[in-house]
């Protein structure tokens, strides 16, 4: 059970990284980015394609894939900032759901519907805890999640750019009237989250189901984790991702419960939504 839980920590780290990205997107540019994992999937697929078809060194291909993920995300951000700048969160998020489907279809056309021959960026054990092996991938993803969350906290709280981003997220029109360049800053957030998501997916993809749908749908457990923090708190988003991964890993060890793990994120989301609405009066909640 402990081995399973620790194995699940690698996936949990990935959920946590993606949850941090989703939380940042929601807080700073008012979008629930359903295409967050899909852009990472396309970027990591490109890396594999570059290695297989061009013979590029793995590090260079991975770097190219990460840059493509960031570029794709920035491109989507440019579209949203240019044509949907004054629309509400629901409309902007709906656009990203359409992009999610588009990217899954595109990856089927470009790369086929089979898992890709990923070569591990990281492999092997990092250390042991009580005889249980903790892999390098687990350490990398959990470390990346914590690092990104801390870096974002510092950026938003301690730097002039962070203060501008917070102002922009609160009152975009007022921020622009004060000379804060909304579009470049927003696109930078899109690009940054795209970069981090692609990096995390590139690290984890070799060690888990890596067909296009599985990778793109990582946004579901990531959303569950982000929901724990109300799409506002980075620490709870990280915690939620790790807990979800550990529970999934532990459940996978049981023959009777292993199928349940696929539904855990959805159960998590339903439970959180019900919990968050527990004190709502019917008329007010509608």
């Amino acid at each position: 059970m402990l081995q399973g839980a620790l194995a699940g920590l690698a996936a949990g780290g990935l959920y946590a990284v993606l949850a941090v990205c989703l939380t940042l997107m929601s807080r700073l540019v008012r979008v629930v980015n359903f295409a967050q994992a899909a852009t990472g999937m396309v970027g990591s697929y490109l890396a594999v394609w570059l290695v297989v078809h061009t013979g590029l060194p793995e590090w260079a291909a991975t770097l190219g894939g990460i840059l493509l993920g960031a570029g794709l995300s920035a491109g989507l951000g440019w579209i949203v900032c240019t044509w949907l700048a004054e629309t509400d969160t629901g409309t902007r998020s709906a656009v990203t759901a359409a992009v999610l489907l588009l990217l899954i279809s595109l990856s089927f056309i470009l790369f086929g519907n089979k898992p890709q021959p990923f070569r591990p960026v990281l492999a092997g054990p990092a250390f042991q805890v009580g005889g249980v092996v903790v892999s390098q991938v687990t350490v990398a993803t959990v470390g990346l999640a914590v690092l990104v969350a801390l870096a974002c906290r510092l950026l938003l709280g301690r730097t002039a750019v962070g203060v501008r981003l917070r102002a922009l997220s609160e009152r975009p029109t007022t921020a622009e009237l004060l000379g804060i360049p909304a579009k470049p800053l927003s696109i930078a957030v899109w690009a940054g989250t795209g970069l981090v998501a692609t990096l995390a997916i590139s690290v984890v993809a070799p060690s888990q189901s890596n067909d296009p749908t599985s990778l793109a749908m990582l946004v579901v457990p990531a959303s569950a984790a982000a929901l724990l923090g109300g799409f506002r708190r980075l620490d709870l988003a990280v915690g939620g991702g790790l807990v979800l991964g550990v529970v999934e890993g532990a459940v996978a060890q049981s023959d009777h419960l292993s199928l349940v793990r696929y539904f855990l994120p959805l159960l998590f989301i339903v439970a959180l939504l019900l919990w968050s609405q527990r004190k709502e009066v019917w008329d007010a909640a509608r």
Binding site: R166, A167, T173, E176, L177, G179
Partner: protein, 232 residues
């Protein structure tokens, strides 16, 4: 000396035009009171000047520079600031963070805090926790810290006790005296006309009177006629 010129501006909002063929000029060192009944189009005119609303026809210039197609950020960089209706503070930011958004130096922050000593005591408080009057002070101080040449102020008194509002008016006058051109939209017509040098009355989206503010203040009949939409 640059002026801000609004030339024959028409603004459409929803079904049709809310501002029709409005022209006015803001001159450095002077306050222009823009008054009129509710729904006359005062806020829409300010929003068109600062770029919140698109201009259907006409133009806005600062000196030789045409701002009509410029972004909001571009207009701000030309020296135009707009204080929106309803105490537009960034509630999650502290008072200091609000001010540092526009101030280039610590000295500028100190200067605006000297205008509002109440704020200095609450510099590290989130702006959302301030009283309505203090929040309006933050908004004014933030605009002053940018040192704009042209300042549009929309309904500064909204939701404030009159005693608080009358505390703010002299600060606005002083800022104009230091060289800024101010366009002041205000529901308290007499208070606005009392500190302004120029007056513009709009009714149903059209300018119905333009002239010296003291003259309009001294002639209630003229003001009444202009409010009813009859040009003189």
């Amino acid at each position: 000396m640059n002026t801000l010129r609004v030339n024959g501006v028409t603004v459409a909002r929803g079904a049709g035009p809310v501002i029709r063929d409005v022209s006015l000029e803001l001159v450095p060192g002077r306050i222009t009171a823009l008054v009129g009944p509710n729904g006359a189009g005062k806020t829409s005119l300010l929003e068109a000047i600062s770029g919140v609303l698109p201009i259907a026809s006409g133009s806005v210039h600062i000196g030789p520079h045409d701002l009509t197609r410029q972004s909001r950020v571009g207009r701000f960089r030309r020296g135009l600031a707009h204080i929106e209706q309803g105490r537009a503070v960034f509630g999650g930011l502290t008072v200091l963070e609000n001010l540092r958004l526009t101030a280039r130096t610590g000295e500028q922050v100190d200067q605006v805090l000297a205008l509002f000593p109440e704020l200095a005591k609450r510099a590290d408080s989130p702006a959302a926790l301030l009283s309505g009057g203090e929040q309006q002070m933050v908004v004014l101080a933030r605009a002053f810290a940018a040192n704009p040449a042209f300042l549009l102020i929309d309904e500064m008194s909204l939701g404030l006790a009159p005693v608080v509002f009358t505390r703010l008016l002299p600060v606005v006058s002083r800022f104009a005296a230091e060289g800024a051109a101010i366009l002041l939209v205000e529901q308290f017509t007499h208070l606005a006309l009392g500190i302004a040098q120029d007056a513009v009355v709009v009714s149903s989206g059209r300018v119905t009177h333009q002239g010296p503010a003291p003259d309009l203040l001294a002639s209630p009949a003229t003001l009444h006629t202009a409010y009813l939409g009859e040009s003189r």
